[in-house]
C-alpha cells in the first residue's frame, strides 16, 4: 500500500539524502555514513538544527551516535549500561507525569537477556505473520529500547517525532506484545519519514481543527490524528493475521479497525488541510477513490510557450544547496538560517540540474526547452507545459530566479 507512494527503500534513501544535506550545512566535512544518518540521535541533532538551533558540529553528531547495542533478529536493541543518561532526551519526552523511565541494559544481566530474546522472537513472529508489512515497517526502525518495568510509569510503547527511528517499550512479557508494538510504533516511524520526504503536512495542517476521540476525549492536532489513524490502520490489518495468537489484555488489535474508521472519517472531513500524498494515502487505505491533484494549468500551450520563452535567463538563487536521491527526486535548501527545505520532483530536479555551473550560470529558456524536447520524448506542448509548471514552482519557492529585462522577468511567475 505504502509502496504506491514510495517503497520503504526509496523512502529511507530520500530521508538519508535530506539528512546528509543537513549534515553538509551544519557539520561540513563530517562525512556522515548511512549508519550515522539513520541513527535517531543524529537525526535528532540535525532536526534540531533545521528547527533553528545552531549549536551543532561534527563531533556532536559522532558523540550522539555512540551507544552500544545488541542484535535481536536484525533489530538494534540498546544494551549500553549508560543508556539512561545517553537517551535522557527521548526518555524525558515520552515520560508520563511523575515517572523517570530507565533503560534495561546488559548491566541488568539475565533480565536484559530475557528481554532481548523476546524482542528477537517478536521480530521473527512479525515477519512470519505479516512478511510484507514487517519489511515495510521495520525498514524505518533503527534503535529499540526496553524500559525497566518498575520505572516505565505505565508506558506500553512509545516513539517521538523528535528522535525518529527510535521505539521504546515496557519490559515485555510475551513476544506477541512486542510484535504489536513493532506494528504500532513502526507505523509512526514510517509516518515521520513520509512527513520529511513527501507532501504530507504544511502550515494548513498546523492551523487545522483538532480531533477529539470518542474513547478517551483526548484532543489531537491534525499531525497526531493522522499518525494515530495510520497506526490503527496498520494494526487493523495486522489483527487479521493474528487470529490464532494469544493477545495481551492491553492489545489494541481488537479495537483498531473501529478507531481507524473513526479517525479516518474525521480526516476525510478535514482533508482540505492535508497535502496531496497524505490525502492520497488516506483514501487508498480506506478503500475509497483517491482524488488526484492535477497539474496546475488553465492556459493553452501557446500562452505557456510565450511566457516561458519571454523570460531572458534563469539562474539559481545564491546559496541554494541541493542533493539528489536515487529515486531521481532531489532535496534543496535555501541559504537562510534555518534553511527552507524543499523536495523537487523529477522534472524540477531536471531543471535545477541544468545549472551545472552553480549559481553563477545563466540558462536561457530556449536552450533549456531545446534540451528537454530532445531528452523527454514528448510533444513540444507537453514539454513546455512540464517545464513551465516546474519553473513556476521553483521560482515561487525562491530556488530559481528569472533574470533579465524586468518586463519579461516576472512572466514566468
Amino acid at each position: 500500500m505504502h509502496a504506491a507512494i514510495a517503497p520503504a527503500g526509496v523512502l529511507v534513501d530520500e530521508r538519508r539524502t535530506l539528512y546528509r544535506l543537513a549534515g553538509e550545512i551544519y557539520a561540513p566535512g563530517a562525512r556522515l555514513s548511512d549508519n550515522l544518518l539513520d541513527h535517531p540521535a543524529v537525526r535528532y541533532e540535525l532536526g534540531r538544527a533545521l528547527a533553528g538551533h545552531e549549536d551543532l558540529d561534527g563531533e556532536t553528531l559522532f558523540a550522539a551516535a555512540r551507544i552500544e547495542v545488541a542484535d535481536a533478529a536484525g533489530i538494534a536493541v540498546v544494551s549500553d549500561s549508560d543508556a539512561t543518561s545517553k537517551l535522557a532526551t527521548p526518555l524525558r519526552i515520552i515520560a508520563p507525569a511523575g515517572a523517570k523511565p530507565q533503560v534495561l541494559t546488559r548491566a541488568d544481566g539475565e533480565r536484559f537477556a530475557a528481554a532481548l530474546a523476546l524482542v528477537a522472537e517478536a521480530v521473527e513472529l512479525f515477519r512470519a505473520l505479516a512478511p510484507e508489512m514487517s519489511d515495510d515497517l521495520l525498514a524505518h526502525l533503527d534503535l529499540f529500547v526496553v524500559l525497566k518495568s518498575e520505572t516505565s510509569g505505565g508506558v506500553v510503547s512509545a516513539s517521538t517525532r523528535y528522535m525518529p527511528g527510535l521505539v521504546l517499550i515496557d519490559e515485555p512479557a510475551t513476544a506477541m506484545e512486542v510484535a504489536e508494538a513493532l506494528v504500532h510504533e513502526g507505523s509512526h516511524l514510517k509516518f515521520f519519514d513520509f512527513a520529511v520526504t513527501r507532501d504530507f503536512l504544511d502550515a494548513r495542517s498546523h492551523r487545522a481543527d483538532h480531533f477529539v476521540n470518542s474513547w478517551s476525549r483526548v484532543e489531537w492536532p491534525m499531525e497526531q490524528a493522522y499518525a494515530a489513524w495510520h497506526a490503527y490502520t496498520a494494526l487493523s490489518q495486522f489483527a487479521l493475521q493474528c487470529e490464532s495468537q494469544q493477545l495481551s489484555p492491553l492489545s489494541l488489535l481488537p479495537k483498531a479497525h473501529e478507531r481507524a474508521a473513526e479517525i479516518g472519517q474525521w480526516l476525510v472531513e478535514h482533508q482540505a488541510d492535508l497535502c496531496s500524498d497524505a490525502r492520497w494515502l488516506l483514501h487508498a487505505l480506506r478503500g475509497t477513490a483517491p482524488s488526484r491533484d492535477e497539474m496546475p494549468s488553465t492556459m493553452d500551450g501557446d500562452t505557456l510557450a510565450e511566457q516561458f520563452l519571454e523570460t531572458d535567463h534563469l539562474q539559481l538563487v545564491p546559496g541554494v544547496r541541493r542533493a539528489r536521491a536515487a529515486s531521481g527526486r532531489s532535496v534543496a535548501a535555501t541559504a537562510s538560517r534555518p534553511p527552507n527545505i524543499f523536495w523537487l520532483d523529477t522534472d524540477a530536479t531536471w531543471v535545477i540540474a541544468q545549472f551545472r555551473g552553480g549559481e553563477s550560470e545563466k540558462v536561457a529558456p530556449a536552450s533549456m526547452l531545446a534540451l528537454a524536447a530532445e531528452e523527454w520524448n514528448e510533444t513540444e506542448e507537453a514539454v513546455i507545459r512540464r517545464l513551465v509548471v516546474a519553473l513556476r514552482s521553483l521560482v515561487a519557492s525562491e530556488l530559481v530566479e528569472p533574470e533579465g529585462a524586468p518586463s519579461h522577468s516576472r512572466r514566468i511567475r
Binding site: 500500500m1 504506491a4 514510495a6 535530506l18 534540531r48 533545521l50 528547527a51 538551533h53 524525558r92 519526552i93 515520552i94 515520560a95 505505565g154 508506558v155 510503547s157 512509545a158 516513539s159 517521538t160 517525532r161 523528535y162 508494538a181 512527513a195 520529511v196 507532501d199 504544511d202 502550515a203 498546523h206 476521540n213 478517551s216 483526548v218 489531537w220 492536532p221 497526531q224 499518525a227 487493523s236 490489518q237 489483527a239 487479521l240 487470529e243 492489545s251 488489535l253 479495537k255 479497525h257 481507524a260 500524498d277 492520497w280 487508498a284 487505505l285 478503500g287 475509497t288 477513490a289 483517491p290 488526484r292 491533484d293 534555518p338 527545505i341 523536495w343 523537487l344 521553483l394 515561487a396
Partner: protein, 62 residues
C-alpha cells in the same frame, strides 16, 4: 528545545476486529506540485510523542 509534556493517545478496552482496507485498483503515485516544502522541522508541537499507556495510568493521568 524539546517540550516536556507529551500529547498522549489514550487507549482503553476492547472491541471487534476489522477488515483489511484494499488499495483501489490503478492506485499510484500522486501528481502534485513539483516543489514541496518540508515543514516538519520548523513546526515543533508541544509533546511530539505518541505514547501508549496502560489503562490504569490513563485514568490516573486524565
Amino acid at each position: 528545545m524539546t517540550p516536556n509534556q507529551p500529547v498522549r493517545p489514550q487507549m482503553p478496552p476492547a472491541m471487534p476486529s476489522g477488515r483489511t482496507p484494499h488499495l483501489p485498483q490503478g492506485g499510484g503515485p500522486v501528481v502534485g506540485q513539483p516543489v514541496n516544502q518540508v515543514d516538519f522541522f520548523r513546526h515543533m508541537p508541544n509533546g511530539g510523542a505518541t505514547v501508549y499507556l496502560r489503562p490504569a495510568e490513563v485514568a490516573q493521568n486524565d
